[in-house]
């Protein structure tokens, strides 16, 4: 079983080929920070109102540490307990992607905040800025909940592990990041910070895959031990989701204040609840909030992009290609 303690090394026969397929798909979407052009963002930043400046500085400060926290949990908690070599292949790949994200946000910070003191402050945000500290504390609480476990020996340990996994998939990658992406796409919808949006497209794509992988691990664990996901667990997940929405909402209040054109705390609340409902549904639980998505610019992220190459770099190409020359192949 997937959570049995140990270091399984057997790739053939492969027990969880779906994990391996997810690993291969991820490889095909390699991108590098150097491909993102942040130059035009500086001109936009120079025109920002103080309110917008505040928002972007807070957002960048969150990004500065968010992916590092995820990477830490991956190494410290997930990798040792997901006892499947193909699953660990995926996690290794995910770790690389988190590193690229960290590098992207570091580059972003260096570009956006020319003053070294400002940069240092951004990285210290987890300690100094209450709205970010609250989110970080939420993450640390769940990291700590399984950190001491060397192996998952009984049902209780496995439940703790599941909660940690669900927290990172549904609440951190699936809600905190989705909240942060919404600000980026909102700015983008006003023609601002194109560079940030380009990088975010790629980060968003990666994070979507991480979340999907985590949920597929949850699916397997549940299928292998249906008794784990009991009513108490459901209550815990709901409570955790509530707390995550609350954390993200107090962050929104810090960022948006009384509201800006097309971005109000009310709308953000509906959006977060809407996203939270989707996560609950993915876990086979009923919707809790019943909110609608209020952001038209997020609906745009659901459909195929068609980029005029005069305008922006198309982001759709794959990087690994297979096969050899064969002039008679069907096409």
């Amino acid at each position: 079983m997937l959570l049995d303690p140990g270091m399984n090394l057997t790739l053939r026969p492969m027990k969880y080929p779906d994990f391996y397929e997810q690993y291969r798909a991820a490889i095909k979407n390699t991108w590098t920070v150097e491909e993102v052009d942040l130059a035009s963002d500086l001109a936009d930043l120079a025109k920002f109102t103080p309110q917008e400046q505040h928002l972007i500085h807070r957002l960048v400060a969150f990004f500065a540490t968010g992916d590092t926290i995820v990477a830490n949990n991956l190494v410290l908690n997930l990798y040792q307990h997901v006892n499947s070599p193909e699953g660990r292949l995926y996690l290794s790949r995910q770790l690389f992607e988190e590193a690229v994200h960290v590098q992207f946000y570091l580059t972003l910070l260096d570009t956006y905040l020319p003053d070294p003191d400002e940069r240092a402050k951004a990285f210290a945000a987890v300690d100094n800025i209450p709205s970010i500290k609250r989110k970080a504390d939420f993450c640390f609480k769940w990291i700590d909940s399984v950190f001491e476990m060397r192996e998952l020996s009984g049902a209780e340990d496995r439940r703790a592990f599941l909660l940690n996994l669900i927290c990172f998939a549904a609440c951190i990658e699936g809600l905190f990041f989705y909240g942060a992406f919404a600000y980026v796409y909102w700015l983008r919808s006003r023609g601002l910070l194109d560079g940030l949006a380009t990088g975010t497209n790629w980060v968003f794509r990666d994070e979507s895959c991480h979340m999907n992988f985590a949920f597929s691990v949850v699916d397997v664990v549940r299928a292998e031990g249906p008794e784990l996901f009991d009513d108490q667990m459901r209550d815990q997940v709901t409570a955790m989701m509530d707390e995550a929405v609350e954390c993200e909402l107090q962050f929104a209040q810090d960022l948006i204040g009384e509201g800006m054109p097309g971005m109000t705390v009310n709308d953000m609340q509906s959006y977060l609840q809407y996203v939270a409902d989707q996560r609950l549904e993915r876990l086979g639980m009923p919707k809790k909030f019943g909110s609608e998505n209020p952001f038209p610019f997020m609906a745009l992220q659901d459909v195929q992009e068609l980029t005029n190459f005069f305008e922006r770099r198309p982001t759709a190409y794959q990087t690994a290609v297979e096969g050899t020359v064969d002039l008679d192949e069907e096409f």
């Binding site: 026969p13 492969m14 969880y16 080929p17 779906d18 991820a26 979407n29 150097e34 491909e35 983008r188 919808s189 023609g191 194109d194 968003f204 794509r205 979507s208 549940r222 299928a223 929405v245 909402l249 107090q250 209040q253 009384e258 509201g259 054109p261 097309g262 971005m263 109000t264 705390v265 009310n266 409902d277 996560r279 549904e281 993915r282 086979g284 909030f289 998505n293 209020p294 038209p296 745009l300 992220q301 659901d302 459909v303 195929q304 992009e305 068609l306 005069f310 305008e311 922006r312 759709a316 190409y317 794959q318 990087t319 290609v321 096969g323 020359v325 064969d326 002039l327 192949e329 096409f331």
Partner: protein, 786 residues
């Protein structure tokens, strides 16, 4: 949750208009009124829903203008459920533009010209023309014409094309003023201006973006494309080319530039007794130079480098856009194209070897094509001059890999291009490359930079449900050719090399857009025999009318100066190279051939099918000759992201009473594909297959059948959702065999994607232990055989 609710309502109680209380503020009432007025006559639009959503998101200090912007955003995002919302959004935007110009004192066309003149934006000639004919021109404006725009089209015009106040950045002209200004910039009389304006305001024909940007302005750079010959194999020539590229790029031209004359890596440099680092470092400099010139903020500079397949640096060239490897051997801004001789393709077919040369050792190869190239190439091989010899298929495989990984490394065929061109009758005149979008094929040399002025007919506008209106198409073509020819004389040329070439050859490139819309309107599947027949017939009508018009212009104004160096002067027209051309108008071709024999042609080349990305957006039609990539997709541009939806499809589904929210979600979840949606009848699914689902053979066949009537080339994208080297190698070989001169991007799809946020969440998927078919990949979990 209650705790949250209280904190958020605390945050909004200071707002003048409170959430959930539509009458709570004047602004709320005022925006509601506007939305209701504009929604009048738009049957399927739910104005009250929009009003509720706008009022739900009011923030402190929001003005009516702010809320209108929000209403526009909300309606624009609703087009996927009901395409008519696009019209509502366009009307709201049109009102916004009218208010913005009114604030600058602009109401009429002459007001707009006055305001632009006062801000130093217009040429003296245009200002004088308008001053002389003010009232007549004001009367030409069709004030209802804005209602023809879909939202995305109007947004594009507003965001990028309308002239703006140099400091306030507010627009100084309305969309119809802009179109008449463009027409006046190319006209000598009010009647002429009215003739062109009518086509523009009907969205029946649009000149290319540089003409739309610059007509009538102080720097009327009207040309789309520039093709520069390779720099000579010397330092000064290379730096001179950078300078030309920068000047051409500044005024919104796309650049094609060859690099085949420059020596390859390891070649001896006599002056210093050192060895060359090859072409990559030079292209890095070109890359930076192109990125630095941003075309006045309107769009980013763009260039494509062409390299002959025999150049010894070809392998490094193919890696220039990889996102791995050393950054000092990468160019992320340049597009790349292969200039492929037939001999290479023949050796690929025969699975033979291919030799790579340093141009310094065989300088003659660059200026040869056809049999003379083949002979010289084999002679160089026999003389042992090759720097390297590799299996042709190995290199071909690498080319395919580059296409799959980057979409770049376009395959363009040098011998085909030269063999059928009207400009290459004299062996001194050689085509060395195509342009940034692979639809232009013109001769170049060190002293001559080829230029092309482009325009495209909106075929959708010439088609009703009853059929295609060929008579109207011909009227449009006549006007279009006349004005494209005019741009050659009126244009401002950023370099002397460009002006010299353009005045001698006078090439123009008339193309089309909206072909897919025509097929949808007439109920034809893209890969049907009827579609091929119609598409070819349209191409023939465009070509014959263009030739007739150019012959007439030659009778009036004289043939172009280099006419005697063309094949037409020898009595050979482009279509004569194609024995299997589907000619339906033989008498007209013979008649025009006779006239050309008498007085020549005004233009050496006339037809080119450009990609039309931006102007198709303005016209609200499908791009050039392309199938649609999805029935619901977003466009990302410099001015933001926009949702687009196939309104023909939704129209048909509504007619059959099938359109509802469930179906809409199903289409979005399937990423705009309807192939697998059982609720939709078979015949509709067949006709609305996307570019990813159509057989690519059909795209190539349509292009090949059209080729006899395209004397330049066509920007033909090919599509493979999951490309493999095998599929691509067969596909591009077929394209070459079918006689295509060029191909454009290989479009493919990402291997992973963003999770959809706004359609229903997926349910937990069945996992391995739930249900698992017997699989060799997974024998352990399969219980069926145990």
């Amino acid at each position: 949750m209650t705790g949250l609710a209280s904190t958020t309502s605390a945050a909004t109680t200071t707002a003048p208009a409170q959430r959930g209380d539509p009458s709570g503020g004047e602004v709320a009432a005022s925006i509601a009124e506007k939305i209701r007025v504009h929604a009048a006559g738009l049957g399927d639009v739910d104005a009250e829903r929009v009003i509720a959503q706008v009022q739900g998101g009011i923030w402190p200090g929001a003005t009516v203008g702010d809320l209108r912007e929000r209403a526009i955003e909300i309606t624009a995002a609703s087009v996927a459920s009901e395409p008519t919302y696009s019209k509502l959004a366009a009307r709201l935007l049109s009102e916004h533009i009218a208010e913005e110009t009114a604030a600058e004192g602009v109401a009429s066309f002459t007001d707009a010209i006055g305001a632009c003149r006062d801000n130093g934006l217009l040429s003296d000639e245009l200002v004088a023309f308008v001053e002389a004919h003010g009232p007549e021109l004001d009367a030409v404006i069709d004030s209802a014409a804005d209602d023809r725009f879909e939202y995305f089209g109007l947004r594009t015009v507003y965001g990028r094309y309308l002239l703006r106040h140099p400091e306030h950045r507010t627009v100084l002209e309305r969309p119809q003023h802009f179109m008449l200004r463009v027409a006046c910039g190319l006209s000598q009389s009010v009647a002429e201006a009215a003739e062109l304006y009518r086509l523009l305001s009907q969205l029946a024909y649009l000149p290319s973006s540089p003409t739309l940007f610059n007509s009538g302005t102080r720097r009327p750079q009207l040309s789309s494309c520039f093709l520069l010959d390779s720099p000579k194999d010397e330092l000064d020539s290379i730096y001179e080319r950078y300078s030309q590229v920068a000047r051409l790029s500044k005024y919104a031209g796309g650049i094609g530039i060859a690099w085949s004359r420059v020596r390859s890596r390891g070649s001896l440099i006599r002056g210093t007794n050192g060895h060359s680092n090859g072409i990559v470092p030079w292209l890095r400099t070109l890359d930076s130079s192109v990125a630095a010139v941003n075309q006045g903020g309107r769009r980013k500079g763009a260039a494509c480098v062409y390299l002959a397949t025999w150049h010894a640096d070809i392998e490094e060239f193919l890696e220039l856009r990889d996102n791995t490897g050393s950054e000092d051997r990468r160019t992320h801004n340049l597009n790349l194209a292969n200039w492929v001789p037939d001999e290479f393709m023949r050796r690929v077919e025969a699975d033979a070897d291919w030799s790579l040369f340093d141009p310094k050792e065989v300088p003659e190869l660059v200026d040869l094509w056809g049999e003379r190239f083949d002979t010289a190439y084999r002679r160089a091989e026999a003389a042992g001059k090759a720097r390297k010899t590799i299996p042709a298929r190995e290199l071909y495989g690498r080319m395919m890999r580059t296409l799959a990984q980057t979409g770049n490394g376009w395959m363009t065929f040098s011998d085909t291009a030269n063999r059928v061109s009207n400009q290459t009758a004299d062996p001194q005149n050689v085509i060395h490359l195509s342009n940034l979008c692979t639809e232009i094929l013109e001769v170049t040399s060190d002293a001559e930079t080829a230029v092309c002025n482009l325009g495209s007919v909106n075929l959708a506008e010439h088609c009703t449900g009853e059929g295609f209106d060929f008579a109207r198409l011909e009227d449009t073509v006549r006007t279009a050719v006349k004005f494209l020819d005019r741009t050659i004389d009126l244009g401002f040329y950023p370099t002397a090399e460009a002006e010299k070439a353009n005045r001698k050859w006078r090439p123009i490139g008339l193309g089309c857009m909206g072909l897919a819309d025509v097929f949808f309107k007439l109920g034809l599947a893209f890969d049907s025999a009827e579609a091929l027949e119609l598409s070819t017939k349209i191409a023939e009508h465009i070509a014959v009318t263009a030739y007739e018009t150019s012959a007439w212009l030659a009778e009036e104004l004289g043939a172009h100066p280099n006419f005697n160096q063309t094949r037409a002067a020898e009595g050979v027209l482009h279509l004569d190279h194609y024995r299997n051309a589907r000619i339906t108008l033989p008498e007209r071709w013979e008649a025009v051939r006779g006239r050309i024999g008498e007085t020549g042609l005004r233009n050496s080349l006339m037809v080119a099918v450009a990609p039309t990305a931006t102007i198709a957006s303005i016209a609200g039609c499908a791009e050039c000759i392309e199938p649609v990539v999805s029935n619901v997709f977003k466009r990302e541009t410099l001015s933001g992201e926009f949702l687009q939806v196939n309104r023909h499809l939704i129209g048909e589904l509504k007619e059959r009473g099938l359109w509802n929210e469930t179906l809409r979600q199903a289409i979005v979840v399937a990423e705009g594909s309807i192939e697998g949606i059982e609720a939709i009848p078979e015949d509709i699914r067949l006709r609305y297959r996307t570019a990813w689902e159509l057989p690519q053979r059909a795209l190539i066949d349509l292009a090949a059948a059209r080729t006899p009537f395209i004397d330049q080339a066509q920007s033909l994208n090919l599509f493979q959702a999951s490309p493999t080297i095998g599929k691509l190698s067969a596909m591009y070989r077929y394209a070459w065999k079918q006689g295509l001169k060029t191909t454009y991007y290989l479009r493919s799809r990402p291997a992973t994607r963003i999770n959809q946020t706004t359609v229903g969440a997926p349910q937990p998927v069945a996992t391995a232990t739930d249900e698992e078919a017997c699989s060799l990949e997974n024998p352990e979990s399969c219980e069926a055989c145990q």
